[in-house]
C-alpha cells in the first residue's frame, strides 16, 4: 500500500502481481466507482421513470407505446448503446455508460411504477377524490405510498441489473469493477478477475438488502396484523 495516494493521483490504480495482497486499493477504487455509477444511473432512471409512469397512468392509451419504447431501448446491446450515446455525451468520460444504464432501468421502473399505481384499489382512489383531494396531492399522498411495494420490487431488480450490466463497460475501458474483469483476462491474473466478480456480487446483494429494508421501513401498514 506504500504511496497508494500519490501513485495513482488522477489515474486508476493498477493491479500488481498475481496475488490479492497489496491490491486492495484497486478493489476499493473500482467498488467506489461502481457504487457511484449505480447511484447516478438509478437516480436518473427514477427521475425519468416517475413522470413517464405518471403520464402512462393518467393517459392509459400512452402506456403501450411507452412500454414498447422502453423495451426497444432495453433490446439495444449495451456496447452499441454506449457507441450511440458517444456523439452526444463524449467518448472518454463516464457519461455514456451511466446514461445507458439509466435508460435500461426505465423498462423495469416505468412498468413497476405503473403497475403499482394500477393496483391501488379503485374504492380507495374514489374515496380520495370524493373527499376533495387535488390531483397531485392524491398522487403523492395516496396512490404513490400504496404503490411502494411494487416500486421497491422494481428498484431492487433495476439496481441488481444495473450493477451487473455496468461491468460490460469494462470492454471499452469503462465499467468500474468490469475493468478488473477485462484487465484480469488480458493479463491472465485470475485473482483480479475473481476479486472483481466477488465484489460485484457482494455489491448487488448489499444493494438488494438495502432496498428491501427501505421498503420494509416505508410500508409499516403491510405488516399490521389483526390484533
Amino acid at each position: 500500500m506504500r504511496g497508494a495516494a500519490t501513485r495513482f493521483a488522477g489515474n486508476p490504480p493498477y493491479w500488481n502481481g498475481p496475488q490479492l495482497s497489496g491490491n486492495w486499493d484497486v478493489i476499493r477504487y473500482y467498488t467506489a466507482e461502481h457504487i457511484r455509477f449505480t447511484l447516478i444511473a438509478l437516480a436518473l432512471g427514477v427521475l425519468f421513470a416517475f413522470p413517464i409512469a405518471y403520464l402512462s397512468h393518467r393517459r392509459p392509451v400512452l402506456y403501450p407505446p411507452i412500454l414498447a419504447m422502453t423495451n426497444v431501448v432495453y433490446a439495444i446491446p449495451s456496447l452499441a448503446l454506449f457507441a450511440l450515446l458517444g456523439p452526444f455525451l463524449g467518448y472518454t468520460n463516464d457519461k455514456p455508460i451511466i446514461v445507458a444504464m439509466a435508460l435500461y432501468t426505465l423498462v423495469i421502473l416505468v412498468r413497476n411504477i405503473v403497475e403499482g399505481l394500477r393496483a391501488v384499489p379503485r374504492n380507495v382512489t374514489d374515496a380520495a377524490t370524493g373527499l376533495g383531494y387535488g390531483r397531485l396531492r392524491q398522487f403523492a399522498g395516496v396512490e404513490l405510498p400504496l404503490a411502494i411495494p411494487t416500486i421497491i420490487a422494481g428498484m431492487r431488480l433495476a439496481a441488481v441489473s444495473t450493477i451487473s450490466l455496468i461491468t460490460v463497460g469494462g470492454a471499452i475501458g469503462k465499467g468500474a469493477l468490469g475493468r478488473m474483469f477485462a484487465d484480469g483476462i488480458d493479463r491472465g491474473i485470475d485473482v483480479e478477475l475473481t476479486s472483481g466478480v466477488i465484489a460485484v456480487v457482494l455489491l448487488a446483494l448489499v444493494a438488494d438488502a438495502l432496498l428491501l429494508t427501505a421498503g420494509w421501513l416505508l410500508t409499516p401498514w403491510t405488516r399490521a396484523r389483526t390484533a
Binding site: 374515496a127 376533495g132 390484533a227
Partner: protein, 342 residues
C-alpha cells in the same frame, strides 16, 4: 336542501344512466335512492359531488349550483362514504378520520381532537386510533368510513351502499346506529341502496328509480309502501310490503278489545297482578303457554307476529308494568283502519 332539476347523464357510449331526474330533498332529511343495478342511483349520487358531471340539468345545494363552486372545495364540504369504506390502507384510523380537516388546513391538534370525538361517538375506543384499517373488522371499518366523512362536520352526506359489504347482523346494527345518530346530527343525507329494508330503516324519504334512471316514485317510506304508484314500485317494495308497512305503524293504532270481548272461546290467563301468563279454553283446565305480549312502543308488526304466534290467534297488549290492557285479533289488523288511526 338538495335540488336536482331535470338532471340527465348520458355516457359517451350512448347509455342513458339518469333521465330527466328532478327531486328536492329538504335539509335534515335522509333520501334513500332505491333501485336495481342499472337504475342510475350511484350515478345520481356521484353527480352531486361532481365525481360525474351531468350531461344536462342542474344540481344545487342550498340554492347554489354545484358547478359554480370549486370542485375540491365542494367535495370537502360534502361527506362521502362508499362501499367497503374505501379507507386508506396506509394510514391509521385517526389519520383516516382527519383526512378532510387536514385538506382544509386545520391544525393538527384540532383535527385530532375532532377525530377522537367522532371515534368515541361511533363506539370505537382509543386503542383503535393507531391501528391500520386491515386490523379492523368490516363493521369497524364502515364506522371509521362514516366518521371520516363527518370529520369536518359537513351539512351534506353522500352514502353509496355504505353497509353493503358487511354481514347481515352487523349491517342491521349499523343501520339502526346510523338512523339514531342521524336524528342527533340532522345532516341532509343521500343514501344509495338496493335493499328495501335498509331504505325503510334509514330513509325519511325514498326515491324508487327504474332502469335507465327514471324516477318511479318519491315519498315517505309509509307512502311508498302503502301507495305504490305502479306495479313496478309495488313489486320492488316486495310482496310483503304490507307487513313492512305494519313495521312503521305503532301498535297503539291497532284496534284493541277488552279481555272479555274475545270473539272465541279462548280466555287470557292472568296472574295475581294482572299480567298474562297464557291462554286457556273457556271452562277447560288452565294450562300455561309461553306468550309474547305486545309492549308499549312496539310496532303494529309486533301485534301481527304475536297474534300469529299465539294458539288463540290473538295478541295481548300490556302496559309498562306488564299488566294486560287488551287484545287484538287478526281481524283487527286491517291496514286501512290502522293507517287511519296512526
Amino acid at each position: 336542501m338538495i335540488q336536482l332539476d331535470r338532471v340527465t347523464k348520458q355516457f359517451p357510449d350512448g347509455t342513458v344512466a339518469v333521465d330527466e331526474l328532478s327531486l328536492e330533498l329538504p335539509t335534515g332529511e335522509v333520501l334513500a335512492l332505491l333501485g336495481t343495478s342499472g337504475s342510475g342511483k350511484t350515478t345520481t349520487l356521484r353527480m352531486i359531488n361532481r365525481l360525474i358531471e351531468p350531461t344536462r340539468g342542474t344540481i344545487s345545494i342550498d340554492g347554489r349550483d354545484v358547478r359554480s363552486l370549486d370542485v375540491h372545495e365542494l367535495r370537502r364540504g360534502i361527506g362521502y362514504v362508499i362501499q367497503q369504506a374505501g379507507l386508506f390502507p396506509h394510514r391509521t384510523v385517526i389519520d383516516n378520520v382527519t383526512t378532510v380537516p387536514r385538506l382544509l388546513g386545520w391544525d393538527r391538534r384540532r383535527s385530532r381532537s375532532r377525530a377522537m370525538e367522532l371515534l368515541e361517538l361511533f363506539g370505537l375506543d382509543d386503542s383503535m386510533s393507531d391501528r391500520y384499517p386491515a386490523q379492523l373488522s368490516g363493521g369497524q371499518q364502515q364506522r371509521v368510513g362514516v366518521a371520516r366523512a363527518l370529520a369536518a362536520d359537513p351539512p351534506v352526506l353522500l352514502m353509496d351502499e355504505p353497509f353493503g359489504a358487511v354481514d347481515p347482523i352487523v349491517r342491521a346494527q349499523l343501520q339502526v346506529e346510523f338512523a339514531r345518530l342521524q336524528r342527533e346530527l340532522g345532516k341532509t343525507v343521500v343514501f344509495v341502496t338496493h335493499d328495501v329494508d335498509e331504505a325503510i330503516t334509514v330513509g325519511t324519504q325514498i326515491a324508487v328509480l327504474r332502469t335507465g334512471g327514471v324516477l318511479a316514485q318519491i315519498g315517505t317510506p309509509k307512502d311508498v309502501l302503502a301507495h305504490p304508484t305502479d306495479l313496478f314500485v309495488a313489486d320492488f317494495m316486495g310482496a310483503d310490503r304490507q307487513v313492512k308497512l305494519l313495521g312503521l305503524l305503532p301498535a297503539s293504532a291497532v284496534n284493541q278489545r277488552r279481555l272479555a270481548d274475545l270473539p272465541s272461546d279462548w280466555e287470557v290467563v292472568l296472574d295475581g297482578a294482572g299480567r298474562p301468563t297464557g291462554w286457556c279454553r273457556r271452562g277447560a283446565p288452565v294450562t300455561t303457554e309461553v306468550i309474547t305480549p305486545v309492549r308499549p312502543g312496539a310496532t303494529a308488526r309486533a301485534v301481527l307476529e304475536a297474534a300469529l304466534a299465539s294458539e288463540s290467534g290473538a295478541a295481548i297488549h300490556v302496559d309498562d308494568h306488564g299488566v294486560a290492557t287488551g287484545v287484538s285479533t287478526l281481524d283487527d289488523l286491517s291496514l286501512a283502519s290502522i293507517e287511519a288511526a296512526a
